[in-house]
Subunit: 405 residues, 2 copies
C-alpha cells in the first residue's frame, strides 16, 4: 500500500492482530508506519509477539517503546530478550527461539508422553524435543515420530539422535540457514560454548533469512539495496542506486579514454567506431557466462586446485572456439556489408583475444573472491564488464591501427 | 570428479549405497556414469530406492533397466511407479511420495497411537498424518504434535486441521514448491479430482525443486543451461551457450548500424566515438536497476494497475534526476577534459533522455512479460540492454549532429 493508505489501514486493524501485522511488514513499510502512527499505541500489540520477533523489530523502534515492551515481560523473558538483542543481526543468537521443549535423558517414553500431554499444545515448529542432562547440557534430539512409535519403558537417551547439526549463538546465522536448507531441518538446537542447551532455531526464521539474503544478492548485483521498496520516496531511491552508477561511470570513463587513444585511427577509418562496441559487448557476455557457471559451482562446493586447472583449460577452450566461431560470423557479415576482408580478419582476431581474456578473468575473478572469503557473485559482473569493455576496445582498435592503417 | 575418476570411484562403492549415490548425482554426472558402467549392475541398487526417486532417474535409464527394476517391485509399487512416470516432470504427480500414513477420522487418539506404535518407525518427513473417510476421501491433516498432546478418547476428526494447502497431481510442481517455501511446510497431501488422498509431497523434494529452478533462472539469464557442469565437454558448452551469444550478436549488430548512420558526424567530431559508449552503458545500468526492483516486487505479489502507475511515475522521476545528476557530472568531466561546454550540454541531454527511456522500458518489459504469464526475469536484461544501447547511440549521436555540427 502507498504511504497514506498504510496508516489508514493500520487504524482499522483489530488490536489483537496489530502485533503480527507489524512484524510481517518489511523494514521500509515499518519505517513509514512508525512515522505515521503514535508509537505508544504499538507497545501493547508488540508485547504479544514472540521474543525473537520482538528482537527482530526492536532496532527499528524508539528506545522508550522497547523499554515499555520489556516492562510487560516477565523476568525470564526479559533476560532472554536482552540476550537476543546482544547479538548482531548476522549471528545465530539474534534469531534464537526459546520455546523449545527439553527433557532429561533418563526419563522414560511413558513419562515423557504424560508430561507432553499435560502441556495441551506444543509450540509451533516442534518436530523434535531436546534431550539434556541434569545440568542442562545438550545430549541429543528426539523426533516426535520416534517418540510416538517407541516402547513406553525405553529411556529417551536410548532413542535420541546425537548426530545432528547444532549451532552456537555466535555462529553466522546465514550458515545456519543454509544448513536448514541443505538438510531440510525443521528445528535445530542452539548450544553454548559449555555445551548447555540455550534454545532452538526454527525453519520459518531460517528460510526467511535465506530468502532475504538471496534477494539482497540479486539486488546488490545491480546496485540496489533491499531496503528500497517500490513505494520508497524518489530521493531515497536515487541515493540507494547512486554508488553503483558512480562505479559504472568511472569504468565507462576509463573505456572512453582507451578509445580516445585511437582517435586518429577512428578518424581515418570511421567504421571502427561502429564495430568496436560489438567486440566489447560480446566479450562481456562470454565473461558473464563463465562467471555464472563458476559461481553456481562455488555455491555447491569448494573447488580444488585440480578443479580450477580443469576450469581454466575448459573455459579458455570454449572462449577460443566461441571467438573463432562468432568472430568468423561477424567477419562474414563485415565482408558482406563493407567488402573489407582485412577488417574482417582484424575483427576475428580481436574477438578471439577478447573472448580468451573474458574466459581467463571469468574464472579468475570469482575464484579469487571466493578464496578471500567474499561472495563470488557480488561485483564480479561489474569487474568483468570493465575488463572486456576497455580490453575489447584496446585490442580491436590496436589491431586495426597496426594492420589496417 | 572428472569423468574417468567417476567410474573408478563408482566401482569402489559398496553395493548397498550405490543406489543413493546414483540418485544424489546431478543429471550430467549420471549421464557420464551411465556411459562408463555396465547398466545391468545398476538394477539391484536402484530398485532399493524410494519410488519417487526411481521415477526421477527413470527417464535417463535405458528402457530395459527400467523394466528390470519394475519387475523387482511388488504389484502396488509397480502401479505407483507407473502413475508417477505418467506425469510430466513439471507436475506434482511426478514427485508424489506414497509413504504417507492415513487414518480414518472416526478412530480415537488411543487407537491411533497404538497403531502407530506397531509400525515401529514412521516414514521420513512425517510431521503429520492424513485423515480420510471410509472411501479414502481426504478430510484433513493431524500434526504429530497435536496427536501427542491430545486426550486419548478424542476422535481424530475432532483434532484435525482442514485449512491446509493441498495439491492435485496435475498441479504445477513449482507452485507446490513455492507454497512449501512460503508456508514452511514439511509435508502436504496430494488429493485427486474426486477428493481421494493419493499421496503426499515432502519438503526434501520440494526445496530441491525450488533450488534447481532458481539456479536455472540465474543461468538462463546469461544463456547457460543447467545441464552443463564444469566437467562438461567443450563442444557441449559451446553449443549450450551459443543461442544467447547469437542473440547478442544480432542486437550488437543493430546498435552498430545505428552508429553507422552517423559516420559523417563521428568523422567530423571523433570524440563522439569515445563518449557514446558511456551514454549507452549507463542507460543499461539504470534500466537493469528498474527491472531488478520490479522483478523482485513481482515475485512477491501481483501488481495492481495503481501500483504500476505509481511505479512508472517513480521510476521515471528517478531516471530523470539520475540523468540530470550523472549527465551533469559527466558534463563537468568533459568540460575539464575537452574544454567543450556545448558537448557537455549535449551529453547531459542525451543521458537524461536515455535514462528516461531506460526507466520506461525497465518498467514496461517485466510488467508485460508477467502479464503474458512469462517469467519477468528472463530475457528482460537482454532486451533492456538492446534498447538502451541502440537508443543511447541514436539519441547521443543524433543530438550531437543537430547541435554541434
Amino acid at each position: 500500500l502507498p504511504k497514506d493508505a498504510r496508516t489508514l489501514a493500520w487504524d482499522q486493524l483489530d488490536e489483537s492482530i496489530r502485533g503480527e501485522v507489524f512484524f510481517a511488514l518489511n523494514n521500509p513499510a515499518r519505517k513509514t508506519l512508525l512515522e505515521g502512527v503514535d508509537a505508544d499505541s504499538l507497545i501493547a500489540p508488540l508485547a504479544e509477539l514472540e521474543l525473537n520477533e520482538i528482537a527482530i523489530i526492536a532496532p527499528q523502534l524508539p528506545d522508550n517503546v522497547v523499554k515499555s515492551i520489556e516492562e510487560k515481560l516477565d523476568v525470564r523473558e526479559r533476560e532472554q530478550l536482552q540476550s537476543v538483542l546482544s547479538y548482531d543481526d548476522s549471528q545465530v543468537g539474534s534469531v534464537i527461539d526459546f520455546d523449545q521443549i527439553a527433557l532429561r535423558g533418563d526419563v522414560t517414553v511413558a513419562v515423557a508422553l504424560r508430561y507432553l500431554r499435560r502441556l495441551k499444545d506444543l509450540p509451533d515448529h516442534t518436530d523434535k524435543i531436546f534431550i539434556v542432562d541434569h545440568s542442562g547440557k545438550w545430549l541429543g534430539v528426539l523426533r516426535l515420530r520416534t517418540l510416538i512409535t517407541a516402547k513406553p519403558d525405553k529411556k529417551l537417551s536410548e532413542l535420541m539422535d546425537t548426530d545432528v547439526p547444532t549451532f552456537k549463538p555466535q555462529d553466522p546465522a546465514l550458515d545456519a540457514a543454509q544448513a536448514f536448507d541443505r538438510y531440510d531441518l525443521f528445528s535445530a538446537p542452539v548450544v553454548d560454548d559449555n555445551g548447555r542447551l540455550v534454545g532452538r532455531l526454527t525453519v520459518d526464521e531460517m528460510l526467511d533469512l535465506l530468502r532475504k539474503y538471496e534477494e539482497q544478492t540479486q539486488l546488490a548485483e545491480v546496485g540496489v539495496k533491499s531496503e528500497e521498496d517500490i513505494f520508497a520516496p524518489v530521493t531515497r531511491s536515487i541515493k540507494n542506486r547512486s554508488p553503483w552508477l558512480a562505479i559504472n561511470l568511472v569504468t565507462a570513463l576509463i573505456a572512453s579514454q582507451v578509445i580516445g587513444l585511437f582517435e586518429d585511427s577512428i578518424e581515418q577509418l570511421v567504421v571502427l567506431a561502429a564495430l568496436m562496441p560489438i567486440v566489447a559487448g560480446m566479450g562481456g557476455n562470454v565473461g558473464n557466462q563463465s562467471i555464472t557457471m563458476i559461481v553456481r559451482e562455488l555455491s555447491n562446493r569448494a573447488l580444488t586446485k585440480s578443479d580450477i586447472a580443469i576450469l581454466y583449460s575448459k573455459e579458455l577452450k570454449v572462449g577460443l572456439f566461441n571467438g573463432l566461431i562468432w568472430g568468423g560470423v561477424l567477419g562474414l557479415v563485415i565482408i558482406l556489408l563493407y567488402q573489407n576482408p582485412p577488417l574482417a580478419v582484424v575483427i576475428l582476431g580481436a574477438m578471439t583475444i577478447n573472448f580468451l581474456s573474458a574466459a581467463f578473468f571469468g574464472v579468475t575473478i570469482p575464484v579469487i573472491r571466493a578464496k578471500l572469503g567474499r561472495d563470488p557473485a557480488l561485483g564480479s559482473s561489474v569487474m568483468i564488464t570493465a575488463i572486456t569493455d576497455s580490453g575489447g576496445f584496446f585490442i580491436f582498435l590496436g589491431l586495426a591501427t597496426i594492420f589496417l592503417l
